[in-house]
Amino acid sequence: MTTTDQRQVDMMLNLGPQHPATHGVFRMLLTLDGERIVDMEPHIGYLHRGSEKLCENESYGQIVTLFDRMDYIANLNNELVFVRAVERLMGLEVPERAQFIRVLLCELNRVASHLLFLGTYGLDVGAMTPVMYTFRERERIQNIFESVTGARLMHNYIRIGGIKEDVPSDFTARVRAALEFVKRGVDETDRLLSFNEVFLLRTKGVGVIDAKTAVSCGLTGPNLRASGVPYDVRKDNPYEVYPYLTFKVPVGERGDCWDRYYMRVLECHESISMIEQCLDLLPDGPTMTQTRRIARPPKGEVYVHAENPRGDIGVFLVSDGSDKPYRLKVRPPSFCNLVALRPMLLNSYVADSIAILGSIDIVLGEVDR
């Protein structure tokens, strides 16, 4: 009788792109020793639409619709950063009312995005109820968007030089009413999930990344702040009317999944308070600068960045003076955050891979562009 072959062979597990918990079409090639992950190779590009190249063939007004579709959870934030890049290049001064409305809607969108995260993160770790609660409250925000911009997701509302049209007359009342429900929804999810024993077990100490590694990976947004680095574009490089708002930037210290999750819970509250301040400060006035219908920025290049729900989004725009950009490059926060996935993931379990990927909160439309 021959002896049994005792060699150990690691198992390759292909997680995605059709896996239900990879938030789209992300693919991880895991090398497993039992349930333990010894190696991970990310594969992206399944949602690649060539947005940046497409931008070179579209006029500036049309590009806004492409930016809607990059981070399709935080559309208005994306529109804003592109529009600001063009405005900077053209030297446009945007009326203050338009700026306030932009910031207000962006913060609303941040709450909507974080609500979606809170729900789907519960789903990632196996709790099926929070997603229903957060979607219910997110729906109220979407309704406000619909009443203001005419669309629930792809708004095309923030235009070069201002906004498409002024908010409807019942806007303030509607936002205030919706915020009450949203606050309740955030609290409800907080009560249901944040301190649940099983949830704590699943997220505490999982996917830890220290501040140094986080910075060197280019992590931004709540993910970076969870590691204890108080970096927020709204604070460090304020834009639009953020200097006129008082807000807190929650900072974690452990850098694990729970911290990343809880940063978003806290940011929801901060964004809600910012929205209320915006409503109080909202000045009267025009909402659009008088510009030519077709934007033709002068020759030059500009880099503009902003704080998206997912992190620091940057737009690098090169203009050759025509009505189409010569080159447009986006620094997508989801893509850069994904770099930190590998250091977080190694030596954890298969189940953790989902919890960690979920805690980074990627949007594949933005990763692949």
Binding site: G61, R191, E197
Partner: protein
């Protein structure tokens, strides 16, 4: 374990509340007044013809190239009942490509196209997502009736007013054209 019990109380509360879901085919949630459904072409009742002159601005500005248009000489202009030299002959929107961005409405100088509340246009026909001129015009008329739409720039675009301005003798007193005030979508029913 206290947190777990709190979670139990949170979930059980909803059993005794009304579900928030709307039963879709029976209950339609109303769309907001500004809702942007599919675009449609509007009808100039004073000249009994479309507003659209087929100038191709919307076709060129559409980010997804979902439209096509062709113009021809306006017979009503020859007859003197309209101020449009050219009029739309063929117009088609491919709903599969339309992204409801509203750019076509923004660029139109003739008040000819408007985002309506049309949605739920799914059909079983293989080519069912293409809307040609008659479909678009009928949707536009429905939109005008439903929303009380008024042209933004009647002096320039409404045939009756424009003709009346050119020839004050044929005073267009009976024309129902609305005021020159910019239309507000909040007026919509």
């Amino acid at each position: 374990m206290i947190a777990g019990l709190k979670g139990f109380l949170t979930t059980i509360r909803w059993v005794f509340k009304r579900p928030v879901t709307a039963n879709y085919p029976e209950e339609h949630l109303p769309v907001q007044p500004r809702y942007m459904g599919f675009p449609a072409l509007l009808w100039d009742t004073t000249a009994d013809e479309p507003f659209c002159t087929g100038c191709m601005v919307c076709v060129r500005e559409c980010p997804t190239q979902c439209m096509s248009a062709r113009m021809h000489d306006n017979p009503n202009f020859a007859a003197g009942t309209s101020h449009r030299r050219k009029i739309i002959e063929h117009f088609e929107i491919n709903y599969n490509r339309c992204i409801l961005c509203g750019i076509c409405v923004d660029v139109c100088a003739f008040d000819a196209i408007e985002m309506t509340h049309e949605h739920e246009l799914a059909s079983y026909a293989r080519n069912g997502a293409r809307a040609d001129l008659p479909i678009l015009l009928s949707q536009g008329r429905r939109w005008m009736e439903r929303s009380g739409w008024r042209p933004r720039n009647p002096e320039k675009n409404v045939a009756g007013v424009a003709l009346a301005k050119r020839a004050p003798a044929t005073a267009a007193t009976k024309l129902d054209t609305g005021s020159g005030k910019a239309p507000s979508r909040e007026d919509d029913a």
